[in-house]
Symmetry: C3
Subunit: 321 residues, 3 copies
């Protein structure tokens, strides 16, 4: 079900009505809605620890056409903690796609088996297409280099929980801003708040033009920022992996892969209450020595993935308002 | 447990006793039994929507040695909707088969972990072999080019639900009748009813001789039918995929793959109440423009997969009579 | 949580306190503890048949970086029979490892999704490493050629159940004693009891020196035993697969693969109450004709895997004392 395809401003959508809704792009949400999702996520914390029957009898299908540990297992754990169940596949080779089935048919099949679908796919636009064909809500679990809206919600939740607020934060996005789908969704989301944004990346991995145009019209953005210089001012250091698998050219990858490695020296002059986030997995972007600093919050971020996804599943299935 | 290996007519089997029984071949069933399965499937419709605890505490193992979206996820959804649980694998590489284990040993292992096993395998006879060794019921979820009995039951259920009857129908089977396991099982099943059958296929993909001999002894069969000519008379158009993966020769595949493509023009002169079925996945056999015609029922067919498999699981586990 | 890393004798561990404990190596246990696990396993027999809610709301993550039918499905079945749920992956390709994530990060991620982790990995030491980083209990489900402690517990449980005792048994370990992780764990475990051990293997597959040194200091061990000669005396014939996948050299494998094949002739002079065990999968080491002898107990051994793993899960999660 895709309301944005009507080309309307979707009054219904902005009425804090989430039942039956797709989570395709972070751009489909206004700030009030995002705040509501974060509030519901907070209310899920005790259920995530103690268990719940909120979605008893409901089935989540996880259709992962690209590999994932975190996102898939986190969706599955969230669904199970709500008393629901899970079916799905973890890679396209175990599915009918190998026999030539298109995504629209896969979706019109699986909607008969499940009450909600979490989709990861290598193609941009695939979540939107799936939503157009599906009778049950589609949750975008990462599409190509484009978007990863649930990760952006987790990032916002972590900022609010760990820094106590979102408005007023100075946030640096570091690493691969071109192919990294999480930073695209996060940039869109942050642009809904009063945030100052600093972009730090190798020249070849600068933020996508379309994303940049959107966010610059809303919040102050410093492109090509010098990490050392801004370190003493920033509140959030958001580090991303240089994604080998998105590079068309291996030589290009080799040139930039170690460009921004965060170690103890990098954060020497940081604020005491700086928080360091990373959507994970990481390879070399953050040295292990950083893991035990009070600033490191990327593993707390993982936990937050559970409660945010519990909130989204409960909302689109109408189990909470 | 395989009663048919006794070479007896199996009085027990025909006594509408399903508990502990294997579902290996559609040929093991008489019409009364099939009708009973379809009746039980109908009684599952409300449970498929509202949930149930009928198989609480029971475990289904899905052993899929060949890829599948539909069949595996549909069995799993059916089991979960009945309150049961699922273990299994979606491809042989993740199993001990890679270490050289034979199927008999795999079955004698898994019977300790599960109450019922759904098996998909590339080898003909594998479901029968598994049933010979297993202490728990084996459900054939597709074996080689041979049989796919649960799909045939879904097809019958769909005909009865959508056309209101099975006896009296004129059914055309179109496409790959040689390698397509679903049409073999379906042909056997239809031969138990008063049905007129039309076979439409490229010369190299004509119906297997052994299947043909059996069905011709029971019902009127028109081989090598002209699709255009029979279109105004038929009640059911059953289309199948030309299965690339079953062809020994790629050139042979290329020659026939587009042989019978159903589009709006093809069904121009069809009856109003014709129904078009397809076991899915489809590649090019049915044009997307057909999806929105009132005749298209292949996605309803997918839903019917849930209730038919719920019926089979409940029957062989003795949860319903 | 790894207490042994403290370098202490771990008073706490030997106090029959299992809650929160890792199952990394059989060497971490004293006999009293093993006996307790076997007692708890015995108390799980009715629950394995009738179902239970002992671990309702708990989640097991099965992280299998190497293929497995038996161990993974058996852990999953055990967890489901206790009313818990399961998430996980069956092979590394479907995980973030493909993106370069290290095991420590994977564990620190998954501990947020699950209450206990069962880990299979090709690297020796991986379970220990995982336990060092994990906040939730790690159960070693097989690491490299090193250890497979839960299999050893199953073997002991089977001996006690089928032979009525462990102390006093004469046990022959046959086959690949070099690369076979199950025999390493089993040898350590047997050395805690009053057992006589006979080692039978090709010259190139003799028992690892480190394991040998440990067990020889505790119990009588006959190396390089002649199978035919000892057959009339032994109580347990423990056969293992020559594991092709652990051999660096294919020619070396070809030389020894059929070295010790057990058939009816081999056991002609065996005791009436000999029991034949095998951790499975088998390839050619035991002829199928042996399967129906009263001595064959390897498929009973499979069932015992369920109750032993139910016991371990319940113990480390604190559901039983």
């Amino acid at each position: 079900m895709l309301f944005s395809t009507l080309g309307l401003s979707c009054f219904w959508c902005h009425n804090l009505e989430f039942k039956g809704r797709d989570i395709v792009s972070i751009e489909d949400f206004i700030q009030t809605e995002i705040n509501h999702i974060l509030d519901v996520a907070k209310s899920m914390e005790p259920l995530a620890k103690g268990g719940s029957e909120l979605l008893k009898g409901k089935i989540l299908a996880t259709l992962f056409f690209e590999p994932s540990t975190r996102t898939r297992l986190s969706f599955e754990s969230a669904m199970l903690k709500l008393g629901g169940n899970v079916i799905g596949f973890a890679e396209p080779d175990a599915s009918s796609t190998r026999k030539g089935e298109n995504l629209a048919d896969t979706v019109r099949t699986v909607e008969n088996y499940a009450d909600v679908i979490a989709l990861r796919h290598s193609l941009e636009g695939s979540a939107k297409l799936a939503a157009e064909f599906s009778k049950v809500p589609i949750i975008n679990a990462g599409t190509g280099s484009e978007e990863h809206p649930t990760q952006a919600l987790i990032d916002l939740y972590t900022m609010r929980k760990e820094s106590g607020k979102i408005d007023g934060l100075k946030v640096a996005l570091v690493g691969d801003l071109r192919y990294g789908r999480t930073v695209h969704s996060l940039a869109y989301a942050l642009a809904l708040y009063s945030v100052e944004l600093y972009l730090v990346s190798p020249e070849t991995l600068r933020m996508r033009k379309d994303v940049l145009a959107t966010i610059k019209s809303k919040i102050p953005v410093t492109e090509n920022a010098n990490l050392e210089k801004i370190m003493p001012q920033i509140d959030v250091l958001y580090v991303t992996r240089i994604q080998k698998e998105r590079f068309p050219d291996a030589a290009e990858y080799a040139k930039v892969k170690g460009a921004y490695r965060i170690d103890l020296k990098t954060i020497e002059k940081a604020k005491k209450d700086l928080i360091i986030l990373h959507p994970l997995p990481r390879v070399d972007e953050i040295a292990p020595e950083v893991d035990n600093t009070p600033q490191a919050r990327y593993f707390q971020q993982v936990w937050n993935g559970i409660v945010v996804r519990m909130a989204l599943l409960s909302l689109v299935l109408g189990a909470v308002e």
